[in-house]
């Protein structure tokens, strides 16, 4: 019994780490006013590129680095389409998810089933580093000049603009930063959590990361709790397979996501709500 609890805890941490990175990234993008539903796509691109590089160079850390680059590049595409071209953020994000899944499947064919010689442990210094990252990002958001600018861009972009700060630039940087974090999150999956490459291996984690961002009221510290809770829940759904049919269990994290979203939507209060300009392109002179 005790071992069971410890195991759940450890696996929760292991799977919580990629979730946390991706959720923190989404929090930054959304705080600046841009929804990015492409988290799943950015994660899978990160997972693939991390595996490919780690496999070739036998250096998993290098893999994570390239994963950040892949996520950032994918996010740049989203930023260009939604900020510069002012296309619908939801449509663009969905397209990005599909693009990422398709592209990684295509490129990843010859990497499928290959072993990884050097991997990162499931729970490593990186897990603890993630906690530190969350604290750091929280501090930046609430107690620095940058943080005020990012949050203001998501709340009242017109105010930011009239004070002479470039709204588009702020949003670009936040979205690209978010993409880099999502990419690293994906990289963890393929070089640490389950060191291998399989098509579609992110398995819906990107969507859960988005749910965590909302569940956490766009607060990096709260995202820590959300990420590890969902990580543990994911693990539990495997453990209970002895007693319960697998399909309902696989549904569990997603069903829980819906429940969480329904609950947070009802809560609604002023301090908790979504950034006021979330999802809205900014055009100077429009009121």
């Amino acid at each position: 019994m005790e071992e069971w609890v410890v195991n759940t805890f450890i696996r929760g941490l292991a799977l919580g780490t990629p979730l946390l990175w991706a959720a923190l990234g989404e929090i930054y993008a959304e705080r600046s006013g841009v929804v990015n539903l492409g988290v799943e796509g950015m994660m899978i691109l990160g997972a693939f590129s991390a595996f490919a590089l780690a496999q070739t160079t036998a250096n998993p850390l290098l893999g994570l680095l390239i994963a950040a680059g892949a996520g950032a590049a994918a996010a740049l595409l989203h930023a260009f389409v939604t900020i510069t071209l002012r296309a619908n953020q939801y449509v663009s994000g969905l397209a990005l998810t599909m693009l990422g899944l398709g592209l990684s499947a295509l490129l990843g064919r010859r990497w499928e089933g290959l072993p990884l010689l050097d991997t990162l442990p499931e729970v490593s210094a990186f897990t603890y580093l993630s906690l530190l990252l969350a604290v750091l990002l929280w501090f930046v958001l609430y107690h620095t000049r940058w943080g005020i600018v990012i949050r203001s861009a998501g709340e009242a972009p017109a105010a930011v603009d009239t004070l002479g700060v470039n709204v588009a630039l702020v949003r670009y940087l936040a979205v690209i930063f978010g993409g880099a974090l999502a990419g690293v999150g994906g990289g963890f999956l393929s070089v640490a959590y389950r060191p291998s490459w399989t098509e579609g291996m992110t398995n819906g984690l990107g969507w859960i990361a988005i749910a965590i961002a909302i569940f956490a009221s766009w607060d990096p510290l709260r995202a820590v709790a959300g990420a590890f809770l969902f990580g543990a829940l994911f693990h539990l759904s495997f453990r209970l397979q002895t007693w319960v049919a697998p399909e309902p269990l696989q549904m569990m994290p997603f069903a829980f996501t819906i429940v969480v979203l329904a609950l947070t939507a009802r809560r609604g209060g002023r301090a908790q709500g979504a950034p006021a300009a979330l999802g809205l392109p900014y055009v100077r002179g429009e009121r």
């Binding site: 107690h143 620095t144 005020i148 600018v149 949050r151 203001s152 009242a156 603009d161 002179g285």
Partner: protein, 503 residues
């Protein structure tokens, strides 16, 4: 005695598709003066100031600061040149604190904990200019006049030497406006120049040193306030003498048009917005409802027109219980609704003038037969109303969105009055309209009163409320502070009630 101009705008021209907003406008502002920019809505005041603040680029003309030509390409340039702006609709992050709003993008704040340093400077400046506000308070918890102070502080902390205020008193109570004027005088003494955009003559006379009048995008004249009067300014602003006296005849109200008893309702955020409101409107009477925006007026209007649920209490219209009935049922009981946002709530912008005119009645003969509309009949009906209400539209088939604000309002009145209402709920019926449209709307409301309709007039324009009403109710924090006969009302008494003091 020529004083050197601090700021000169010379022959500024700016055209938008279909309209020349500024036509060779010249404006000179001296240091240490309050300069009023007077004109009707649409005269080009805000466009001119947007050019000065770098939001628009002029098509022609030049801007000189201390005699040197400058180009202001963005608000950032304006700030660098010492120009600050307090917009009519505040640009504040509601969820952030005062200090965070001021620290946003402010040069010279430390990268870490920027709000702390700003807090001190806010307190210092607040004391110096009489702009007290708690730097730690979130914006949403502040009153509108406090939010305005934050906007002024924002500009001052950025080193503004010229401060532009766009219609600053439109959201203030009379007392708050007096406080603002005191702040402006203090700024003047400290050597700042203030440009004060307004269309209210009393304010020009009270606070300005010189006044520049614009009409239809053109400069009329710049004159010292000491050498002019309200009558002359009106003529400059409107281009003719305005008959200020309304044709309001004494009338004894009869019977009850509306009775509101202990009504409670919540705002969109779920907070209590109306707390036990009770009043009556009699037939042949205009009840004015005064108050600072956001004190429950919107919710009150929505409750009465079937757009918001009442949690407790009763609404009786023309002696029928209408509590929590639908908007259609309310209209059919004889209630006309002139909504506050005329384009968003009053019309369907993409539909034609004729379709908009028949919106209330298309389901009934003679406008339809079964499921089919009788377009001939609708067109004839529209032509009649267009003529009767003098709606300026090329054809009845023109999309309503292409009409001017005044004509959209005429369209709404034509539609709402066509059913011969016994009760009229008018929310800010003349906001943003020019003088002649305003006069016409006032005359139409008075005519309905004459014919025995009850009118609830909700307005932030105290002059309008005082001029039209038979009785005046003041709302604050979702409660009625008092109801006084208009003949006994004065601005000071009403202003006090608007800030929550009972008489």
């Amino acid at each position: 005695m020529p004083v050197e101009a601090f700021l000169s705008l010379r022959n500024i021209t700016k055209a938008f598709p279909g309209v020349v907003a500024n036509d060779r406008v010249t404006l000179e502002v001296r240091p240490g003066e309050v300069h009023a920019l007077l004109g009707e809505n649409g005269a080009g005041k805000t466009t001119l100031m947007s050019i000065l603040y770098g939001i628009y680029q002029p098509d022609a003309g030049e801007i000189l600061l201390r005699g040197r030509p400058v180009r202001i390409r963005s608000p950032r340039d304006a700030i660098v040149h010492g120009i600050g702006m307090v917009p009519q609709h505040f640009l504040l992050v509601r969820r952030h604190t005062v200090a965070e709003n001021i620290a946003l993008g402010l040069a010279g704040t430390p990268p870490l904990f920027p709000a702390r340093q700003v807090q001190r400077r806010v307190e210092e400046l607040g004391e110096r200019y009489g702009l007290a506000v708690d730097p730690r308070a979130p914006i949403w918890s502040l009153s509108v006049s406090e939010q305005q102070r934050v906007e002024i502080l924002k500009a001052l902390l950025r080193g503004a030497e010229i401060l532009i205020l766009d219609e600053p008193t439109s959201v203030l109570t009379p007392q708050e406006a007096l406080n603002l004027f005191a702040v402006l005088r203090r700024m003047k003494q400290e050597g700042h120049a203030v440009i004060f955009i307004t269309h209210k003559l009393d304010e020009v006379m009270a606070v300005a040193d010189r006044v520049t009048v614009l009409r239809k995008g053109r400069l009329v004249d710049t004159v010292p306030v000491a050498r002019t009067d309200k009558r002359a300014l009106t003529r400059m602003m409107v281009g003719r003498d305005v008959e200020v006296r309304l044709q309001k005849t004494p009338r004894v109200p009869e019977g009850e048009a509306l009775s509101v008893e202990d009504v409670w309702a919540r705002s969109d955020r779920g907070l209590p917005a109306l707390r036990g409101v009770s009043f009556t409107v009699r037939r042949g009477e205009i009840l004015g409802m005064a108050g600072v925006a956001g004190n429950g007026q919107r919710e009150q209007v929505e409750v009465l027109t079937g757009l918001r649920r009442t949690e407790r209490g009763r609404v009786r219209v023309l002696n029928r219980d209408m509590t929590n009935h639908s908007a259609r049922q309310v209209f059919e009981a004889g209630v006309a609704h002139i909504p506050e946002e005329r384009v968003r709530m009053g019309i369907v912008p993409a539909m034609t003038v004729a379709e908009n005119l028949v919106l209330r009645r298309y389901r009934y003969p003679p406008f339809c037969r079964g499921q089919l509309l009788d377009l001939e009949e609708i067109s004839a009906f529209a032509r009649r109303l267009i003529a009767e209400y003098e709606i300026a539209t090329p054809t009845p088939r023109t999309p309503a969105r292409s009409l001017s604000g005044g004509n959209i309002q005429r369209l709404i009145l034509a539609r709402e009055f066509s059913g011969g209402p016994g009760l009229i709920i008018a929310a800010h019926p003349t906001s943003g309209l020019d003088v002649s449209a305003t006069e016409q709307i006032h005359a139409l409301l008075l005519q309905r009163r004459e014919e025995g309709a009850g009118v609830l007039l909700v307005s932030e324009d105290l002059d309008e409320v005082l001029a039209l009403s038979d009785r005046i109710a003041v709302i604050f924090g979702g409660e009625i502070m008092g109801i006084v006969p208009a003949a006994e009302a004065n601005r000071e008494g009403i202003g006090l009630m608007m800030t929550g003091q009972r008489p």
